[in-house]
Amino acid sequence: MAKKIEFLYPEYTNIYGESYNLEYLKRCNKEINVIETHVGDTPRFITGGADMVYIGCMTEDKQEKTIELLMPYRNFIIHAIQCGMIFLVTGNALEIFGTRIIGDDVMSDENVDIRGLSIFDYKSVRHMREMRHNSQYIGNFDGMIMLGHRSQYSFTYGEFENSFIKIYKGIGMNPDTDKEGVHVKNFFGTYSLGPYLILNPPFTKYLLRLLGLKDNLAFENEIMEAYQYRLEELRRTI
């Protein structure tokens, strides 16, 4: 049976080619159908028209706009998460689900203070005038070794009771925690870019199974070989 994946606001949330996560899923299974919901459209998942929701990294300006767009659907999002809807959220899209985004701004001496969707209890702090933070991580989720790459101007702070990945090399949501991302029911959020599903083929298999599909991967031998090579390299170098 065909599975619909909703790509929320691709004109905002595809700044680092994250749409390749979905392109790769389509290559893995022909039953996957990606639906793009554009700014101004009503999200499909509200009416049960999607099996999974994807939202990727965006510019700082578009974070604020995306929060405005999703705020009317906040309760629907909470309900959907509780009902087990699959969400995959990557990069700084994770920040919009927290309580606040604060920090500095390149164009102004005044700090920003943006109210988030407040679905999860954490806040993010931007450092736009500092060097961009880049690092990689190795972590664990449900017995799978997860690899991540973060490239960001901000960090997130909170208790992270529902973290996605336990980091054992690298950092988590901020330099002082080994907790990375959010995992509640089938909501998976990570700061990591990637494309995340290319970087983590075991998790891609997990996601395909969660969607009720066979877990064969496109170019499975090649992607697994690249994953193993990268894992060994990161074990040596992080």
Binding site: E11, N14, Y16, G17, R132
Partner: protein, 451 residues
Amino acid sequence: MFRFYIALWASKLMMGFYYLIKKPKTDMPGLLACKMCPDFLEKISKPKLTITVTGTNGKTTTSTLLNDFLKSNGMTTSFNDWGANMMAGYAVNLIRGVSLFNKPKVDCSILEADELTLDTWMAKIKPDYLLVTNICKDSLRRNGHPENIFNHIEHTLRILGDKTTAVLNADDPISSELGKDSRRVYFGMSDTMSNPFVNISKDIAICPRCGGQIKYDYRHYRHIGKFKCASCDFKTPQADYMAEFVDLRNRTMMVNGHEYPLISDTIFNAFNVLSCIAMLKELGYRDGEISGFLSTQKVTDIRETCVEYNGIEYYTFAAKSQNVSAASTVFEYMAKEPSIKDVVLLMDEVQDKNHPTETLTWLYETDYEFLKDPKIRRIIVGGHMYLNHRLRLLLAGVPEEKIFAVEDEADIPQCVEQEGIDKVYVLYETDCVSKAKNMRDSIVNYVKEGK
């Protein structure tokens, strides 16, 4: 000023030392000066003309052309032409331009400038002109996204105010919006019928004013072209310097009715030449002077070199890994350039092997799909990212038999064909000029030795 003079003299002494040991292209004296005197860049005297060149792509080519033209016209210049395009590089540039007593001794400084730190340093230097070649997708890990770069350049122009004239690309929907409060001069290009490919990842997705859809009458490459918003009055501004009848094959174009030679057959270099012409015309130079100079120019050796052996041309060709727009534009050129060729990808950044923050991300924003072109017979990749390149090429639809992926770059020469092709291109990250030339020479030597 005491502190400043100590810093100036110490840095000049250090500069003299580096000249003696024949390493003049270093920014160490500039670093020393700025450490000793934090407001050194403000206090050092500037020549009567200061031109800053910034933008994602084309800075080096454009600033080199400007510098060489001004020198050939009898001006004395200082120029940070060794890639040091931040604080210390600016300091060395300006130190070269003053006497021991801080009196200007050159007519002009050409400052090639990094975009990300522009607002910090240009506010101190206060250039007369700020030429912005374009704003495109660049290294994710350093620059983030184009909107971030726009903000830094716009912030710079707001600080500089009417002191500085912005020379802008009218055909770039991102950078053409810069400098609303500045004096602006635009260069643009009429339709070149270049039929650009569609990129998988966009430099600008929506109208920066209203969020509407951006439409094009024509594009030159990527997001550069004649644009307009479907929902508001955002559109390509009127160009002060308009290139028409751009003939890449014969390397000529007309600008405001006068014919100029081009330095290569690429559209992006045509824009670099155009921006240089716009700048020089603003300075009052005549068409004949500029075109005469351009007829003697070619692309700088750090961007492209060629040797021929046994009927095959072996090129090194800069592609800038991690800079998505530059790499994709070069891949497009590879597909359109009419020769039968092998392409070697030598695009891993040198520092990444020891500090592996290198990501897969740029591979999936870059248009590897363009390399499917049948004129490209083999794609050979080496280095520690070889498996990631192979996977990306496969996902792009490149047939497996065309892909040669080896971990050890030393194995690359044996993968290159020795007959049935016209050219071999070694595409390289710009930090790796010597490495690329060594690889190209290894390929040629491998053929010469008849292996």
